[in-house]
Symmetry: C2
Subunit: 242 residues, 2 copies
DNA sequence: ATAAGTTATGGTCAATCTGACAATTATTTC
DNA sequence: GAAATAATTGTCAGATTGACCATAACTTAT
C-alpha cells in the first residue's frame, strides 16, 4: 500500500512535467445532430484495441495541462473539425468493469451540432465517422449504449427549460422544422397552430423576409433565434418552458 | 512519453491487485439538509493538509474495487453514519489548478438528508462536522464554493420536475413545511391556499390522522409522501412539475 | 371562561393558458 | 386553371393560475 502510493506519486510528478495524459481518465462525447427530421448521434469506428473496428463514441484521454472541458472540446474538434460547438458535461461513468483490462473512468460530454456546421468528411478518416439514428444504433462497446441513453434523457430534460434546440437547427429555419425537432426528441406530436402560438408568444424568434425554397407547396417564412433577447429576457426572470 | 505510458501501465497493474485508491480521482459530497425552514449544507473540518482545519466538503478517494457511486456512498456514510440516503451525481470538476500541488479531478455527488436521519454527533469526531446555511457559508478551500453553487442550482432544477424535496422532510409533515421547503430553496413566497391546491391535485400525499403538536395555534394535519403512487402515476405519463 | 392571536383550510373570481379544430391563404405541380 | 399541400389565422370551451376573502380550530394571555 505504501509502496504503491509512492509509485503513483512518482508517476505523477514525472507525468505532470511532460505533456502526457492522465491515464485512468478519459473523455467521451455524445454528439447529437438533427437530419431528415430525425435525431442522430455521431459514432466513430475505433482504430485501436479494445473493440477495434467497432462503432463507438469518440473519445480520448485528458492531458495534464488541460481541464476536462477543454479535453472534450479537443476531442470534439478532432472528430467534427469544428470549434466552439454547444457542449455540456453529462457526468462521470465509473463502473469498475466498464472498460476491459484496466480501470478507466470516463467523463462524458454531449454536444449539439447544426447541419453543415461540421465537416467530418474533410478529415483523413472520412469513412470512420458516421451519423446513426438514435432509434437505430449499432452495437456499441463498453457502456456506451448506457451513456447514450443517459445523454438522450439529459437532452430531453434540458430542452424543456432551455432553448438549446436551436443548436441543432440551421441559423435560418421555418417554424415546422423547430416543431419537428421537438417532436423527434420527445417522441410526441404537437398541434401546428398551438405550437406556433406558444413559441411566438415567447418573443425569441426574429421573423426574416426570406422564405423556404424548393418545396412543393406554400413556402414558409424563415426565422432565426434571438439569443440576445433570450439573455435579456432571462435576466428579467423569464423562464423558457416547453 | 512511451516510458511514461509503461510506467503508468505497470502502476495500474500493481495497484489494481491491491485495495488501493485511484490516485488523481476523488469524490466529494454536497450534503443538503433542511432545518428551521432553511437549506443547509454539511461541511467537514479537514484533518489533513492541504487546507488543514478548514471547513470543506466531505470527500475521499475512489478505491480500485468500487464504482464512483459506491465511493460517494461510502464517504457519505462515513460522515453521516447513515446508509441509503438519496444521492445523485452532479458531475466531474477538473480545472487543472483546482487542487494545490498535484492534479486531482473530483466527481461530486449531492445528497439529501431528512432531519434526524443522520447521526453525525455519534462519531468520534463530532465537532468536525456541522451544518451551515447555504446563504452563510464559511470560506471553503479549492473550488468547493463553486461546487456548492453548482449543486444548489442542480437541486433547484431537479426540484422543478421531481418530487425529491420529500427527502429533506421527515416522513410525516404538515403542508406548510413542504411549502417552506420550496420557498427556502427557490427564494420566493407562495400563496398558501394556492400551494395547497396545486400539491393536493397531484394526489401524491397521503393525509394522516395525526396532527401537529406543540404549536401555538391551530394544529395542521400531517401528510406523508406516497412514493408507490408517484411511481405508478409516472408510468402512466404523469409529470411532476412545480 | 373568554378574548386575542395565529395558522389551517375552504372558496370565489377574473385573467390566462391549453388543446382541439375549423377556415382561409399562398405556392407548386399536374 | 385545378388539385394538392402546407402555412397561417382564428375560435371556443375547459383547465389552470394568481390574488384574495372568509371561516375554522387551536393555543395562550387575561
Amino acid at each position: 500500500m505504501t509502496i504503491t502510493y509512492f509509485l503513483c506519486k512518482n508517476f505523477h510528478q514525472f507525468a505532470s512535467m511532460s505533456n502526457d495524459i492522465i491515464d485512468p481518465l478519459s473523455v467521451d462525447c455524445v454528439i447529437f445532430g438533427f437530419e431528415d427530421a430525425r435525431l442522430k448521434v455521431l459514432l466513430y469506428k475505433r482504430s485501436i484495441e479494445p473493440a477495434f473496428g467497432v462503432w463507438a463514441l469518440p473519445g480520448g484521454f485528458i492531458r495534464y495541462d488541460e481541464n476536462i472541458a477543454k479535453a472534450s472540446a479537443r476531442v470534439l474538434e478532432e472528430v467534427t473539425g469544428v470549434k466552439g460547438l454547444f457542449m455540456e458535461q453529462l457526468g462521470a461513468f465509473g463502473e469498475v468493469d466498464r472498460f476491459p483490462g484496466r480501470r478507466v473512468i470516463t467523463v462524458v460530454y454531449y454536444a449539439l451540432v447544426k447541419p453543415g456546421q461540421y465537416n467530418i468528411n474533410l478529415g483523413p478518416n472520412a469513412s470512420d465517422a458516421d451519423w446513426f439514428e438514435v432509434k437505430k444504433l449499432p452495437d456499441t462497446p463498453f457502456d456506451h449504449s448506457k451513456i447514450i441513453t443517459s445523454a438522450l434523457s439529459r437532452l430531453r430534460r434540458q430542452l424543456k427549460y432551455k432553448p438549446i434546440g436551436f443548436n441543432l437547427l440551421p441559423d435560418k429555419f421555418p417554424l415546422l422544422a423547430l416543431q419537428e425537432l421537438y417532436e423527434a426528441i420527445f417522441g410526441v406530436d404537437f398541434d401546428k397552430p398551438n405550437f406556433r402560438r406558444k413559441i411566438m408568444k415567447m418573443n425569441l424568434l426574429i421573423p426574416l423576409q426570406e422564405k423556404q425554397t424548393g418545396v412543393a407547396h406554400r413556402s414558409a417564412r424563415l426565422y432565426k433565434f434571438d439569443k440576445s433577447r433570450y439573455d435579456s429576457l432571462t435576466e428579467k426572470g423569464f423562464i423558457f418552458e416547453m
